[in-house]
């Protein structure tokens, strides 16, 4: 089934590129949505019938490097893709209804293509297909970013991450001669430099997932439209990072230090995400910090057991999507106001949205408890604290909105809330929490929301350094970029100009001109020159005679 899905997505996406971006773009987008829904239905049927597809193309049938293009799947992969396809459909729908998106057809087409790249990545059985899928995923995501500063940061981070993966896998192939994932365990133990390969891969995973200190490539999405920020933080490189971790875990486990380093990075990332979620004033930034918290949690889960990616994390992603959409719905209801300090007390005019939001949180808690044992309670507590802080700032307390926002304040249109309500209700029905702990957490969340000391967070709303500053980038500029530039300039001036141009080329040139002038002077019509030449000739004859003897 996966091969049909892959080729159908590819054809439909490429077809839609040919459609001129005109007034009917939403209609074409709806057609894309229907097509994606149809594919999901087909996948559902295939899953029920237990049909597992198999497609393999001998890509590089070389005796040295035998690379294949696999689209064959397992039940696990098909189920994973089914869950992710659900998210895709949700995001396509969101792009259609979100009025601020001017290029919904374009972005939806890119999303479908991105999903095709994801299929390549997920079903890869060798390094070549895996790297191609990962790069394609990054390239397509890059086209979805429409802010140049964010785009450039995204590209540079991912470029270095791809280079790290490329190097690590080249190292494995160079030392073991195998590119197949099935042999990875054996290859990893035979590696001469496992620490290096594992370190490079861990760095790539952290960069792609937007972990500390590489979080800014994801956080900069606060400068692009909200729908795109959601698309990119959910169905983009962090997801690729998880699959990267899962597929290459034998390599990562070869280096003992990786576990400690990853634990430290994840812990700092969690702290950073919670702090950001609470202190950031921009609701888009809050959402992105919340997603960072989720990805940190996902990595911490994978660190314990990689099989939980397929059996747990991908099923939590729809709930993360729902919470993201709730945030977006708040800005839509508030006439695109994005600053929480300019909100407050919205509950009076948006009772239904508030209700839906806390219901979505219940859905999130229930779904986490449905996969018992997977979730550390500290993560759940921190997530709920971050959400409580956000909801308190938006819905409760004193109203700070300006007149325009206040006048137009009201629940978002049914196009937003109705599907959301259906999904939340459905998820609650499916994952109705059996544990009292889940309700205790949710109850605590409600109490925290009601009594959160918002003043502490508001105090930081005007801090430019905190809200817009990029401390990590400043450090990167000071400690990496500037020294590199300085070194480059010094080398350029010192070696190119002084050593080569002035000394070497200059001395050759001077020597040549000296010789030329000497010969020139020797050719002049003066008896002393003739005498000198005769003398030099005689000298050469004598030297030759003395060296080679008489015979």
């Amino acid at each position: 089934m996966i091969q049909q899905l892959f080729f159908a997505l590819l054809i439909i996406a490429l077809g839609s590129f040919l459609i001129v971006q005109g007034r009917r773009r939403r209609i074409w987008s709806v057609i894309l949505l229907l097509a994606a829904s149809f594919f999901m239905y087909n996948l559902w049927e295939a899953l029920n019938s237990g049909h597992i597809g198999f497609f393999v193309y001998s890509w590089l049938p070389d005796e040295v490097l035998n690379a294949h293009f696999y689209l064959s799947s397992s039940l696990e992969i098909e189920q994973t893709l089914f869950a992710l396809l659900g998210i895709l459909i949700g995001l396509v729908y969101l792009n259609i209804i979100y009025q601020n998106e001017q290029h919904s057809l374009n972005i939806n087409t890119l999303l479908l293509l991105n999903f095709s790249a994801l299929i390549i990545l997920v079903s890869a059985r060798d390094f070549i297909q895996f790297m191609a899928g990962s790069c394609a995923f990054s390239i397509l995501s890059f086209y979805m970013v429409n802010d140049m500063a964010a785009k450039s940061k995204f590209v540079f981070y991912n470029f270095w991450a791809e280079m790290a993966v490329f190097t690590a896998l080249a190292l494995v192939y160079g030392e073991t001669g195998s590119i197949v994932f099935d042999d990875l365990e054996k290859s990893a133990s035979a590696l001469r430099h496992p620490e290096l390969a594992a370190g490079l891969l861990a760095a790539a995973v952290c960069v792609k997932a937007g972990m500390f200190p590489f979080q800014n490539q994801m956080l900069d999405f606060q400068h692009i439209p909200f729908n795109r920020a959601i698309d990119l933080s959910l169905l983009s490189t962090p997801l690729a990072a998880l699959f990267m971790w899962a597929k290459l875990s034998p390599l990562l486990s070869e280096a003992a230090y990786i576990e400690t380093v990853m634990k430290a990075i994840i812990s700092v990332s969690v702290f950073w995400a919670v702090a950001g979620c609470m202190l950031a004033d921009n609701i888009k930034a809050k959402t992105l910090y919340f997603n960072m918290l989720f990805w940190s949690f996902a990595l911490s889960v994978l660190e314990r057991d990689i099989s939980l990616l397929y059996s747990g994390i991908v099923y939590l992603l729809p709930f993360l999507t729902i919470l993201n959409v709730v945030m977006l719905m708040i800005t839509v209801s508030a006439s695109n106001e994005i600053y929480v300090s300019q909100m407050g007390g919205f509950c009076r005019n948006m009772k239904f949205t508030f209700f839906l939001s806390i219901l979505a949180v219940l859905g999130f808690v229930s779904s986490i408890y449905a996969w018992e044992g997977m979730c550390p309670k500290i993560y759940l507590g921190l997530s709920l604290l971050a959400l409580a802080c956000c909801f308190n700032g938006v819905f409760l307390g004193r109203e700070n909105a300006d007149e325009r926002v206040s006048a137009l304040l009201g629940n978002a249109s049914a196009l937003y809330w109705f599907p959301l309500l259906l999904v939340v209700a459905g998820s609650l029905y499916l994952n109705w929490a059996q544990s009292w702990e889940a309700y205790a957490f949710w109850g605590s969340f409600l109490i925290t929301t009601a009594f959160f000391p918002q003043k502490i967070c508001r105090r930081w709303a005007d801090s430019e350094l905190l809200q817009d500053g990029d401390i990590v980038y400043v450090l990167y500029r000071i400690f990496l970029l500037s020294p590199l530039r300085l070194l480059g300039r010094v080398l350029w001036i010192a070696v190119d100009f002084v050593v080569i141009e002035r000394s070497i080329i200059g001395s050759i040139s001077q020597t040549s001109s000296l010789l030329v002038s000497a010969f020139h002077r020797m050719q002049e019509t003066a008896w002393l020159n003739y005498l000198l030449l005769v003398f030099v000739g005689l000298l050469l004859i004598l030297i030759n005679w003395g060296y080679y003897g008489h015979g």
Binding site: I139, T167, A170, L171, Y173, G174, H193, W492
Partner: protein, 476 residues
């Protein structure tokens, strides 16, 4: 003679005949340039069709020289001229032809010394093709040096900055290179007669003669490669040329040095040569780091492209030094895409530069308004930095894996240099894409539809090289 219809001689003769044809064109300012251009394009396409035909009759799995053509040049002393190709050299010939064709697309509207440029381009291409199909030491030497004449003229006419200095450096390095290679050729001839290139690497040249011959061969090839301390003349030339075709042709100079190494270096490297190889590796890595750093900080796009070209050429050189046949073949496939990418990037950069000059404005933010140019430029930069958009991706993976397994430290430094050179190109892409209200260029300044269609074709060729490297070959 194994070659049907003397195909190898034909691909050398075709550009030469084209050049003679261009020479006969009336030197009229209005039409001469256009006619010469058309003849040049036609000759190139015709030659590419013949090259395609050669691919059909070539055995792809056989890595020895095939389709051999032999001519007796002199009876006393007995010197034979032998021609032959393998998939590697044919790929390079095709890559060079496509690169020159792309370069031609970039100078379509030029009027300055167009006829002269076409004459020397065709002459260069004829000599370069001869060089790639040369299968004996004499024809190799003749074509290796014969390429210099058109190059000398092209640099003399189009090397716009510090022309005299460039020419003197060009002469100095290549003169020394010619002398040492000639002496090495003579020594080989003195001991073993007129031998084919395949046999050179297995000649039992030991002691002082071996040391000198191999030293001379390495030195003459190194002069053509921008490796420290010989890099400065090529960097001065490349950074000073604004004509995209002239740049593309001069960017092929290092390729000739690399090809020389591939043809001459024995697969089982003798012990006395390991010293040369070791120093070659050390100097190569230092040069890569050095040039990539300068390319990264330099704001001139021409230098960035030069830095990129240099870093990749040195990577190929280090790959050749591994002595692995698989690596050599992958270098051929990788270089095929590399040449196309460099030529395409150069013509687009040159287009942007000329628009900047015409309108006396900064090009920063130009790509925000020129969508067609933006698509093409972005694609090429992404392919250039090694993303899976051309054959460079898989082939570089194999080359780097071998280099890493041979020497991990060298490999890591090499990859760092590649990334830095790529980052330099990305910097330029984002400079062009960053919104700037002061940029007076707008969508009317975008590339023409015909040019965009050509670029789409180039992108297609690159993508196909990634999916199936020899996609254009149909087995008979």
């Amino acid at each position: 003679m194994d070659s049907p219809f003397a195909l190898l001689s034909l691909i050398i003769a075709m550009p030469f005949l084209g050049m003679l044809f261009v020479l006969t064109i009336r030197d009229d300012d209005e039409t001469a340039g256009r006619n010469a251009f058309n003849v040049c394009v036609f000759t190139l396409i015709a030659n590419m069709i013949i090259i395609w035909r050669i691919f059909m009759v070539l055995d792809e799995d056989n890595h020895n020289l095939q389709l051999l053509e032999s001519f007796r040049w002199l009876n006393n002393p007995g010197i034979d001229i032998v021609l032959g190709v393998d998939p590697f050299s044919l790929l390079l010939i095709l890559g060079a032809h496509i690169a020159v064709l792309i370069g031609l697309a970039g100078i379509r509207g030029n009027v300055f010394r167009q006829k002269s440029l076409m004459i020397f381009t065709l002459l260069f291409l004829s000599m370069a093709t001869g060089f790639f199909v040369a299968a004996d030491i004499f024809s190799f030497y003749i074509f290796f040096e014969a390429m210099l004449l058109p190059l000398f003229m092209i640099i003399g006419i189009f090397g716009e900055v510090r022309k005299q200095g460039l020419i003197s450096r060009f002469f100095l390095y290549n003169f020394i290179g010619a002398i040492v290679l000639f002496s090495a050729t003579m020594i080989i001839y003195h001991y073993y007669g007129s031998v084919t290139l395949e046999k050179v690497s297995s000649l039992p040249l030991a002691g002082g003669a071996g040391f000198y011959v191999w030293g001379a061969i390495c030195l003459s090839f190194l002069f053509r490669i921008p490796i420290w301390p010989f890099h400065y003349w090529i960097s001065s030339i490349n950074a000073g040329i604004r004509n995209p075709l002239a740049f593309t042709i001069t960017a092929l100079i290092p390729l000739t040095g690399l090809y020389g190494f591939i043809r001459f270096l024995p697969h089982d490297i003798p012990a006395f040569m390991e010293t040369y190889i070791m120093w070659g590796n050390i100097i190569g890595v230092i040069t890569m780091l050095f040039i990539s750093l300068i390319g990264f900080i330099n704001k001139d796009v021409q230098y960035k492209i030069f830095a990129y070209v240099t870093v990749y050429y040195i990577m190929y050189l280090l790959g050749i030094f591994t002595g692995d046949r698989m690596v050599s073949l992958n270098i051929g496939f990788s270089m095929f895409a590399f040449l196309i990418i460099v030529a395409s990037l150069e013509i687009l950069s040159s287009y942007i530069f000329h628009k900047e000059q015409e309108n006396e404005t900064s090009s920063r933010g130009f790509l925000c308004r020129a969508r067609k140019l933006s698509y093409a430029y972005s694609f090429l930069v992404m392919a250039a930095v090694g993303l899976p958009l051309s054959s460079m991706f898989v082939n570089n993976y194999l080359i780097l894996s071998k280099l890493l397994s041979a020497n991990i430290k060298m490999g890591m430094l090499l990859i760092f240099s590649l990334a830095l050179a790529g980052a330099g190109l990305l910097q330029e892409l984002f400079r062009l894409k960053l919104e700037n209200n002061e940029c007076r260029l707008n969508k009317d300044d975008d590339i023409s539809k015909a040019m965009f269609a050509f670029m789409l074709f180039i992108m297609f060729v690159l993508l196909m090289s990634f999916i199936k490297p020899l996609w254009f070959v149909v087995d008979e």
